[in-house]
């Protein structure tokens, strides 16, 4: 009746619990016909809305997040068939300076690589069911939730 456990069938997952290797992502997308690669790294920073941040805990609705990211990639593939894009988001506890997301976009020309990289992160932040709990000197808080 209920799916026992949602397993990502693809060997390739968009989510990881380990540090992200951005070089590996670049290698994954680059083809001999590509002249440009644009990489976006989202990184835990030491402040948010005036408050000090020490670490962030990322949580996700994993199977749905995988599907939503796949949907973003599929849309991009239709709109920009010449661009190859890869995305990985890290979950769990991250310290300041660690990358939470890396997006790599390769293309024959730089225009689309920049456009797609920006489009992916903008849309990612709107729909992918991932949440973050910021921890600082004042305690913990889920970002975006008004108490």
């Amino acid at each position: 009746m209920f799916s026992v456990l949602s397993v990502v069938i693809n060997s390739m997952s968009y989510l990881t619990d380990a540090p992200i290797d951005s070089q590996e992502l670049v290698k994954r997308v680059m083809r001999p016909s590509d002249g440009a690669c644009v990489v976006f790294e989202g990184v835990v920073r030491d402040h948010h809305e005036g408050k000090k941040v020490e670490s962030i805990f990322y949580d996700a609705y994993r199977p749905m997040a995988e599907k939503e990211i796949q949907r973003i990639i599929d849309d991009i593939n239709i709109r920009f068939p010449q661009v190859a894009a890869a995305v990985v988001h890290r979950l769990g506890k991250l310290k300041v300076g660690e990358a939470s997301i890396v997006i790599a976009c390769a293309s024959p020309h730089r225009g689309e690589a920049f456009e797609v990289c920006r489009a992916i992160i903008d849309r990612f932040k709107q729909t992918v069911p991932i949440w973050k709990k910021e921890r600082g000197p004042g305690g913990e808080e889920w970002v975006g939730w008004q108490k």
Partner: protein, 81 residues
Amino acid sequence: MRVRLLYFAVLRDITGKSEEVIELPEGTRAAEIWNRLRGKHDQLAGYERPPMTAINETYVSPDQPLRDGDEVAFIPPVAGG
């Protein structure tokens, strides 16, 4: 019918659980489940409309009637990236 409710992030903290299976009359809508949650948890009382709602891992209107076996998740404001 029975549906599985999943709780994430702030909702997991507020409800104290990550999921539960509940018995509901046929055709119940996610919005009605949200109202039950609001009745149970003071921290949700101010939220008349549910946050984004997912049924079986897809965003849907909270007014869509549920079916037996559905997996329902209320999605608090996302903050990935």
